[in-house]
Symmetry: C2
Subunit: 476 residues, 2 copies
């Protein structure tokens, strides 16, 4: 049997290009080679390995080298060593099963439709790589050492200071760094606020009768019942608020129907919250993008102790940068921090420092301005295309945001979505955004939610053409 | 009354250094100035504002400019406009309450002790800023456009490919990019795996009788009962595994007691999982840091279909970079992805791309090697200091990781922790890591868990001195 061991050892060596002359690497190389041989099945389970001395002689290495390699593989469980029966390949070193059921995953948008007009994402091709990188470099070079230790769950003070200044200026938010908690985005904020058993807020939560199904699902998962408020042309009818202790609103630009909350209702909901010690959850998802005039300030500015404002960079910059912020009334700060945990477990600290620099240096303003121009142009092109090619289709809501709602003739929504799909256009009908318990309300109609931000600049025209072709004809 | 309005308007202008000559900024400047005046209380709630024409004349601007500014502030809720009663400051523009109860937050470590010997954190001063920044630059420059759109919840393919190669080489892990899911760290992985109502795994979960209280708390919050397995010098006694469907282990370096799981037990737990269709959750928290020999490979390599391996950069690089990975048996992949959601909501995509480059370019290996040298040196200095100054205090466990356990004379643990605190040393006693339901076991003893990685290099000597002074004297 001695002969066969020699052959086996030689074969292992040559198969794996075993470089025993590599500096300091003889034991390591041997260990690797043996492990690979077991792994790959060339040394089958139960196979007895050659004695140290044989293999050492075959390979021209010291006996201890072989002994060490064997011991290491025994420790890892690849080999077993029993008194009297030598060293063998362990029985449980099963080969990795071939991947049969797991499909190769590619990013959703990469494998996506020809024309992506789904709402929600900004133009990925417009990410300001150069300016972001410049901020990242400055942030990393200037960061104090403790920035690379465990993070403060409130978020980096640099970012909270920059946001305090920015939000006051751009959104009329009145806050202080100690009242801001950094998070990974709006969904994370909802999870922190409504954590089952330990939440800062409790249901039932009043919501607008149209909204993001993802948010409703997330709340349902947290055991929070949502109660729909009817919408009319002045926004959510906050006069209907009853026993709820919290209401979730999109005051700047109702999502997705597109109207701003009427000033009287802004005031009324603040009064309601004050009177009932309730809270307004203000989803300021696209407040920076208003095209017909300056952005309407946040409701938070009217009632900082009654409003939790949540924002993020998902629409203004990129959903790839997982950063958002919660602007909190004083009484919620400690509870939200407790929900986040003793240390920052979510938001990347280097990214936080980078965003702080990006905002404080004015790069964020410049980027938002640039994107406002771009999206305004897209919205205008959409409106013009419809006026020319489908004048019977109206666009509802104010000129703002990253999406528009097209009002369709009654009963045509589903077939319009389908017709668009045939033409390679992905978009959603309005119906999917409707709260399942919503009653009849003034703005219930067939519609398409058209996200005009997502395509790159050169692809937008073709997307518009395809969309127009998919629209239902004018009623004759 | 006309006269008083003029004065008021002039005062507002001069107080706020209203630059009405700024290009294109007259309306904006006026709006800001008025908003600030309301906010700051100079224009009290209920105050009637001057008619458009008066203010326009006073300020030398067009009447429409004033009308627009008023309308904007009405829309934001700062002002109210009623037919017949003119424009007034709204009643609900409450001033921001002074911050009384919210303390100024500084990062935990920044306001921390003189000598931080708590376990868990690497040396923050050793973060490889230059190499990380170089990877970030390359990653950002080379990233495809879709990287800045909504992210794949599995994580970037570039990172999963780099990890597949790295983990095979460094940790003996057998996997494929399709079986890796990126997450924010070990705690996030636990949350994804044991999501209440929709978890991939269910309790009860067997755990080692010593472990991180934070993990136990997190599991308890998710409704998962943990069942302690006794520890002895061969690690967790996996022969006691019963009806549990999952076991959480730290096989490379038991946390915190410091021993590796015996090879026979590595094999036994894989067999147990295979026989019962159960799963081993392998917390590979510091597997790269073994100082007496090459790292022991992961148990995952023995049984890829029975082991979920979870790792992160929290110890190897920095807890500020919120990235970890789950290496999954095929049958769990879709469930974990469903738990993560339709899009990446957590892990920063730029950071993922950066880490992919950092690993693939060899920078990660170089950093780990450098830190291994540094931490080995620290551990040696700790052992030498004890041998010289407190020879009755033993160090348990193997030479590995970022912490060591000091065995104390019975009954001295609490006072040793306290004595250390007096000397400015923060560290934990062993008792706090013990599972509250753990029975008596072979390694139950008084001890200190000394994290030797956290102090910067120049501060380590003083930390050691302070520690030695706090240790209980030899029994006489």
């Amino acid at each position: 049997m001695g002969e066969s061991w020699v052959n086996s050892a030689e074969r292992i060596g040559s198969d794996l290009h075993l470089e025993l002359t590599a500096p300091g690497g003889r034991r390591a190389a041997l260990t690797d080679a043996l492990r690979e041989a077991v792994r790959g099945g060339r040394l089958a389970p139960g196979t007895r390995l050659p004695p140290y001395r044989s293999l050492a002689a075959d390979l021209g290495v010291a006996r201890n080298t072989v002994a060490d390699a064997y011991a290491e593989l025994v420790a890892e469980g690849w080999l077993t060593a029993r008194q009297g029966s030598g060293t063998r390949v362990a029985e449980r070193s099963e080969p990795l099963r071939p991947r049969t059921r797991v499909p190769k995953r590619t990013p959703p948008r990469a494998r996506g439709p020809l024309h992506d007009l789904r709402q929600g994402a900004p133009d990925a091709s417009a990410f300001p790589r150069t300016a972001w990188l410049a901020s990242y470099r400055r942030a990393l070079q200037q960061a104090p050492t403790e920035a690379f230790g465990p993070g403060d769950p409130a978020g980096r003070i640099e970012l909270r200071e920059a946001l305090t200044e920015y939000l006051a200026r751009a959104r009329g938010v009145r806050t202080a760094p100690g009242r801001i908690v950094v998070c990974s985005g709006f969904a994370h904020a909802l999870r922190l606020l409504f954590r089952p058993g330990a939440g800062v807020l409790r249901g039932p939560l009043a919501v607008e009768s149209y909204g993001l199904p993802f948010h409703r699902g997330l709340l349902a998962e947290a055991g929070v019942r949502t109660v729909p408020l009817p919408l009319d042309e002045d926004g959510a009818d906050v006069g209907r608020l009853g026993r709820e202790r919290a209401v979730l609103l999109t005051p700047a630009h109702q999502f997705p129907t597109g109207g701003p909350l009427h000033p009287a209702r802004r005031a009324a909901v603040a009064d309601w919250a004050r009177a009932r010690d309730a809270v307004v959850l203000e989803d300021d998802y696209d407040g920076e993008f208003r095209y017909d005039r300056r952005p309407v300030g946040a409701v938070q500015g009217l009632a900082p102790e009654q409003v939790i404002l949540v924002g993020s960079v998902s629409k203004s910059l990129s959903p790839a940068v997982r950063l958002g912020w919660m602007v909190l009334p004083e009484r919620y700060v400690e509870g939200v921090l407790a929900a986040k945990g003793e240390r920052e477990a979510w938001a990347s600290v280097p990214d936080q420092l980078c965003l702080a620099d990006f905002v404080a240096s004015g790069s964020y303003d410049r980027h938002v301005r640039r994107m406002r121009q771009r999206y305004r142009g897209r919205r205008n092109r959409l409106v013009a295309a419809l006026a020319e090619r489908a004048p019977h289709i109206g666009v509802t809501g104010v000129a703002a945001g990253l999406h528009a709602v097209l009002r369709l003739p009654s009963g045509t929504e589903r077939s319009a979505v389908e017709a668009a799909r045939w033409r390679g256009v992905a978009l959603d009908g309005l119906a999917g955004f409707r709260h399942p318990e919503a009653g009849p309300d003034a703005i219930g109609h067939d519609g398409l939610v058209v996200g005009y931000a997502s395509p790159s600049e050169h692809a937008f025209g073709a997307a518009l053409d395809a969309l127009c072709e998919a629209l239902p004809p004018a009623p004759s």
